[in-house]
Amino acid sequence: MIKVEGLTKRYARTIAVDNISFEVEKGQIVGFLGPNGAGKTTTMRVLTCFLPPTAGTAQVAGFDVLEQPIEVKRRIGYLPETPPVYPEMEVQEYLTFVGRLRGIPSSDIARRVREVSERCAIADVPTKLIGKLSKGYRQRVGLAQAIIHNPDVLILDEPTSGLDPKQIIETRELIRSLAGDHTIILSTHILSEVEHSCERVIIISHGKLVAIDSVANLTNRLRGSEAVSIEIESDGLSQADVQQRLEQVSGVSRVVPKEARDGSFIFEVESLQGRHIRADLARAVVGAGWNLSELRPVGLSLEDIFLQLTAAEKEEPVAAVHGGAQ
């Protein structure tokens, strides 16, 4: 449905998006993840034909954003970061205006406005001025505006920013309910949002693509290198000795001393990619005659993965990781 190849967008002095390629299948929900200023909004603006790319191509439903922008725009619903609403208009009036602009035949408009109002839970305020609505309502009006012409592709730029927790949950549910009929790209810098509503994640940082994979794969792949917290009773032992012994266990990549509490040492041990080290660790500790008091896996959350990926990106710019499910 969406195909981006070698997309680059350069502003006067900075490169906002640097050679990004990805594809999104029909009906998928894709999370666009990255720290602030990573180039998420710029990429979305290129896809919506608001900005032309400096280099590379972007296609939506087979139409190029540069060559056939009108065709692309017909098939896209876009909710920018701040909902593009006119405060002096009434909700119904505004939706009617947008509907007309998107080419809905005038016989259908009233019906479509009613439908999206109900779907976005704004049917109770049809004649209220948008300027007088709360932030949550305004966001939902923005969402209603994006889906009024029943577009193939929905592009949502931080759809839950600035909402209260209840509204965030409602918005997420709404987005999930839209998933069947629409291909959705939503950007966010909140990771839990991706875990909740997306099937695939595209992580970008400093304008570069860092990872693209399904949420499950991404978590698994980075869990592939296991992290284990191990606690050993310390009677008469030196921390350095214990650390040295642990490092000798096969499959261990790194041992980080965490804590030396009364009577025990705590280490965090990380494995090499794809190795299971818990059994070996336990054997080594017991074999050395020490008392093992705790051994438990530490799961890497999406947060850790994200930090790991975006930090690695900063250190070595070539370390782009591409996942299997492309």
Binding site: P52, E81, T82, Y86, V98, L101
Partner: protein, 255 residues
């Protein structure tokens, strides 16, 4: 084309949903009414005087009341036009709604044309306030209606061309005050151009003089409909809207 109409209708509603349209109409009605009052009072006084002196000078309502009044209206319009156009694009750029328009399946020129039509319609409504006064002249006298019509046509054309320039300036900034200020300055400049060149016949002065919008309005206010002037105004309108579309385009590229 129907898209331009959709946008125009929305813009007109916005104008009349805020106090700006009513303020401008009231402001113009008041000032024009004041001008009308002075002009007719003086006209009546002069006609009495000339009768008392027995000289019987021919008095003409068209020449002595309507023509200066229309010239006056064209000057007042210079002050009103920045207030009409300043919000057109600057406001949308500030609130981000321009993103809605530019990502809808609408062509740039349709957006621009729609906004220009809306501003022109407001301008027509403002000018209509003067019709009350001119109507009084027709009710109590017998002025010739053709020069009046030509004069109004001139006002519309001159306004249309300043509105086009104003909308261009509005696309260049996201600050309404700046858009309004610069538009006012440009209007004033185009008006003053005719002063600089009043008594000079050098070629450059002729060109500058030609560019002054006031020079072209003079013929209209006399009731003379000259194709040359109409073409000047129409091409200025076209030029103004054209650079507006270029400016919108560059907005995409620079962002």
């Amino acid at each position: 084309m129907s898209n331009a109409w959709i946008i125009a209708r929305k813009e007109i509603k916005s104008y009349f949903a805020s106090p700006i349209a009513y303020l401008l109409m009231a402001f113009f009605g008041l000032i024009f009414g004041f001008g009308f009052f002075t002009a007719t009072r003086d006209f009546v006084r002069f006609s009495f005087q000339s009768q008392m002196m027995g000289r019987g000078m021919p008095m003409n309502v068209n020449e002595q009341v309507i023509r200066p009044l229309l010239g006056f209206a064209s000057t007042v319009a210079l002050f009103l036009i920045p207030m009409i156009t300043m919000r057109l694009f600057a406001e949308e750029k500030r609130t981000g709604t321009i993103e809605l328009l530019m990502t809808s399946p609408v062509r740039d020129w349709e957006i621009i044309l729609g906004k220009w039509i809306a501003s022109f319609w407001l301008y027509v409504c403002i000018l209509a306030m003067s019709a009350i006064n001119i109507g009084l002249l027709f009710a109590f006298g017998k002025p010739d209606w053709k020069p009046v019509l030509v004069g109004y046509l001139g006002l519309l054309l001159q306004g249309g061309c300043l509105l086009a320039i104003g909308s261009f300036i509005s696309t260049t900034t996201r600050n309404q005050i700046i858009a309004g200020g610069v538009t006012f300055f440009v209007c004033l400049l185009l008006w003053l151009l005719s002063w600089f060149t009043a008594f000079d016949t050098a070629a450059t002065s002729q060109v500058v003089n030609y560019l002054s919008i006031v020079t072209h309005f003079e013929n209209f206010s006399k009731g003379v409909l000259d194709v040359k002037d109409v073409v000047f105004y129409l091409s200025m309108i076209f030029f103004g809207l054209f650079i507006t579309s270029r400016s919108m385009e560059s907005l995409r590229w620079r962002s």
